[in-house]
Symmetry: C2
């Protein structure tokens, strides 16, 4: 018996995914902590790591260095999906990208989607696929409640 069929069966049973990081940026750490908890109750894939990066030392504010540190901490991620809410949280997400190495920047995706709704959709999708475009599309389409 060769090992190959056994590996193939394993792949059939459990799709092997690459690691992806979801970065949550807000002025409020409560907001990003809460989103992380919500996601982790639904999404238990070890290949999807959520970073709660809101606030500065528990106060209202946003810090680009926290974003850079999260990227370096999860340096083995194939992609970083970055979600920010408003104002300087958005600006600091851009600033952090400029502070990364070029190779890291290519894996760093600023997602034009609502913070809570987009990050949730991205995390759920990232748990079943490695298709970056599909993850981005699901996030960008999130947030519509269907209300008039």
């Amino acid at each position: 018996m060769k090992a190959k069929p056994i590996v193939s069966n394993y792949v059939k049973e459990r799709k092997i995914l690459v690691k992806k990081s979801i970065l949550l940026i807000s002025h409020s750490q409560k907001v990003t902590d809460g989103i992380k908890e919500m996601i982790e109750q639904m999404q238990k894939s070890e290949e999807v790591q959520i970073f709660s990066l809101g606030g500065i030392n528990g106060e209202i504010g946003s810090d680009p260095m926290k974003i850079v540190e999260a990227v370096n901490e999860s340096s083995d991620a194939a992609s970083y999906f970055v979600f920010a809410d408003i104002g300087s949280a958005v600006l600091n997400s851009e600033l952090a990208k400029d502070m990364l190495e070029e190779e890291q920047q290519q894996r760093y995706h600023l997602v034009d989607a609502p913070l809570v709704e987009g990050a949730f959709a991205a995390a759920i999708t990232a748990g079943i696929t490695d298709d970056t475009q599909q993850i981005l599309t699901e996030a960008q389409n999130a947030g519509k409640k269907g209300w008039e």
Copy 2:
């Protein structure tokens, strides 16, 4: 001297606004507590009241009765602007409307906008105007980061 000119001067100095309530609905109380804190740091008008209605007893979940109670508690508000994030938080916001009296329903606006970004824009706008359509429009247009 009649009282009228004094009142007119007062109105010129400080635009008198009617009371408006912003209702924040999520599965996570941390998320809605954090948004309320963010808003209240920027928006100090006494005529804009923020209700953090996420979670059930601190756990992940959403409860339509909390929404109904908030509407009754701020019964003197001219308008209720309701923001929800995903799934049953959205459904419970609709369910709560059905549980209100008809007269209350007319003041209850389900806003098709992102939870964090929309509520923030609505609250800031509600601090300077009573124009319901303007508040709704600002909320609906919020959430675009301008990223490709």
